[in-house]
Subunit: 120 residues, 2 copies
DNA sequence: GCCGTACTACGAGAGCTATCGTACGAGCTG
DNA sequence: CAGCTCGTACGATAGCTCTCGTAGTACGGC
């Protein structure tokens, strides 16, 4: 019995503001291989939004939900409902504003490691 | 009764090679506030070596040992014995070689957050 | 040779995390 | 409306992590 979130037709999800984004939280979010891969996929098409099910992850749906929540609560991604699907977008603008250059450096590092390890 | 580590006069500690350094490990190491602070202090004087006891951390010696081990095993710092003291140095060259620009971006982000939050 | 200092090892507890399975709600599609 | 798909909530479990205290080891100085 949720009091007042069903009427709008678009359930709202809590996101941290720019000021609430913590470096430790971002690093922790990205220190998990599954989440790092999600972020890399999102960054490949930065303007696009992808549903959770678009990603082919080696975990179950429950675990996927968990990882997306960690990413959202750390301020890395923004999630919005679109019908039954939940669309995910990288918060590149916010991250660049709070930590200029960090996201690019992280993505470059991840790409470099993926290349060395033979990952995609 | 350690078989053969006492004779050299300088006990050796295991460190990951450049190729063994993993981005996830580095991010995980830096996602702890205590360790992030250690790295910031080390980076402030990048050429210098500091003993573990040089840092004024809000945890006990046991916990300090633990944190330095995490930093060493993730490849962020290099530890060498010098008498009874264990000297710690940032592995800036190795990190820059494996993930160019990452360390600077991380340090800049940490400095920015510390400034905003009023930390030193 | 003995003591103090610096760090480690071990044990231990509280809390978080990643993972899963099952059951459920929200919204299309027929 | 019925059913399907997408995602959530909850419970459970195993493993890790951060923290500590105590006991122990290595080294330098007296």
């Amino acid at each position: 019995m949720p009091p007042a979130a069903t009427a709008s037709g678009a359930r709202e999800l809590p996101h941290p503001t720019r000021a609430e984004i913590r470096l430790e939280g971002v690093l922790h979010a990205l220190s998990d291989p599954v989440r790092l891969r999600i972020v890399r996929d999102l960054a490949a098409d930065s303007d696009a939004l992808f549903s959770c099910s678009h990603f082919d992850l080696p975990v179950t749906k429950s675990t996927t939900t968990h990882h997306f929540r960690v990413l959202r609560e750390s301020g890395v991604v923004r999630q919005t409902y679109r019908g039954t699907a939940k669309m995910n977008g990288l918060r590149r603008g916010d991250l660049d504003a709070v930590f200029p250059g960090l996201l690019d450096a992280l993505l470059a590092a991840a790409a470099r490691q993926a290349a060395v390890l033979g990952g995609d």
